[in-house]
């Protein structure tokens, strides 16, 4: 049962991720991205990270994809005709594909990752809360400050600046 669910969610994730990347229409790409996130969230449930699955759906599928769709509709940017790739791009993608394949092969050949799961169940909400407010208290504060900075930055960026000259 678990194996079937894993295969299902893994296939859903990979197919939808490919759909995100190759789709010409930006709205369709955003929808595929949403489905890929649902797949990843299902994988989180299989890994007993129930809270993270919920948060991923809430933050990514709820907020981020909605924001993406909003911007796509706002800008109406469907793009022009597809031009051929530059030689530099082709060379870079070939090299990076080779490097990625080498990395995955190294994982398969050299690593011994097939350890059995240690605990019967994933962490509970209480454990998350305890860790966040004891071990990771300073990062929590820093991240809160980062969110504040991001909010201020977005307000400044979204405002219209009359005095600035065009960079053309």
């Amino acid at each position: 049962m678990g194996s079937f669910l894993f295969n299902f969610f893994a296939l859903l994730t990979v197919i939808c991720a490919v759909g995100t990347v190759v789709n010409k229409n930006a709205v369709n790409a955003a929808m595929c991205f949403l489905l890929a996130l649902v797949g990843v969230s299902g994988l989180f449930v299989l890994l007993d990270a129930y809270l993270l699955a919920f948060v991923l759906l809430l933050v990514y599928a709820g907020a981020v994809v909605a924001l993406f769709l909003f911007i796509v509709m706002l800008l109406d940017a469907q793009g022009g005709p597809r031009r051929p790739f530059k030689p530099v791009t082709i060379a870079a993608s070939t090299i990076s594909l080779a490097l990625l394949a080498m990395g995955v092969l190294t994982i398969y050949e050299r690593s011994h990752l097939t350890a059995a799961p240690a605990t019967p169940a994933g962490p509970t909400l209480k454990e998350y809360a305890y860790q966040l407010f004891s071990t990771y208290l300073l990062p929590v504060q820093i991240v809160g400050f980062l969110l504040l900075i991001a909010m201020l930055g977005v307000i400044v960026l979204a405002k219209k600046h009359e005095g600035l000259e065009d960079i053309k």
């Binding site: 991720a17 890994l47 990270a49 990514y60 800008l75 990752l113 071990t135």
Partner: protein, 102 residues
């Protein structure tokens, strides 16, 4: 509940990362490039959760919390930059955004 081995999860994570990476490398629409970036972040998240589950710790899961927060902030700022750019240049295709090259 978990029957696949850790290697399978890592492989899936690497595959997802590769897909996002090639999206960033090969697409011209800035919004789709941004979605590729998000895919790469989610792939890293999946690897962290899998490692954390198979080692019996919850540190990886807590890390994922921080990644989600930073990703949310990143998306907000990035999309604001794209909107500002579109307002100024009337395009978001990366081929036409080459003012710094000249």
């Amino acid at each position: 509940m978990i029957t696949p081995t850790l290697e399978v999860y890592i492989l899936l994570s690497a595959l997802l990362f590769a897909i996002g990476f090639f999206g960033v490398l090969l697409r011209r629409n800035t919004l789709v490039i941004f979605m590729g970036l998000e895919l790469m972040l989610v792939a890293a998240t999946l690897a962290l959760v899998a490692f954390s589950r198979y080692n019996g710790t919850s540190d990886g899961n807590v890390f994922v919390f921080f990644i989600l927060t930073v990703a949310a902030a990143e998306v907000a700022v990035g999309l604001a930059i794209i909107v500002a750019l579109f307002r100024k240049r009337q395009t978001i295709q990366v081929d036409e955004l080459n003012a710094l090259k000249k």
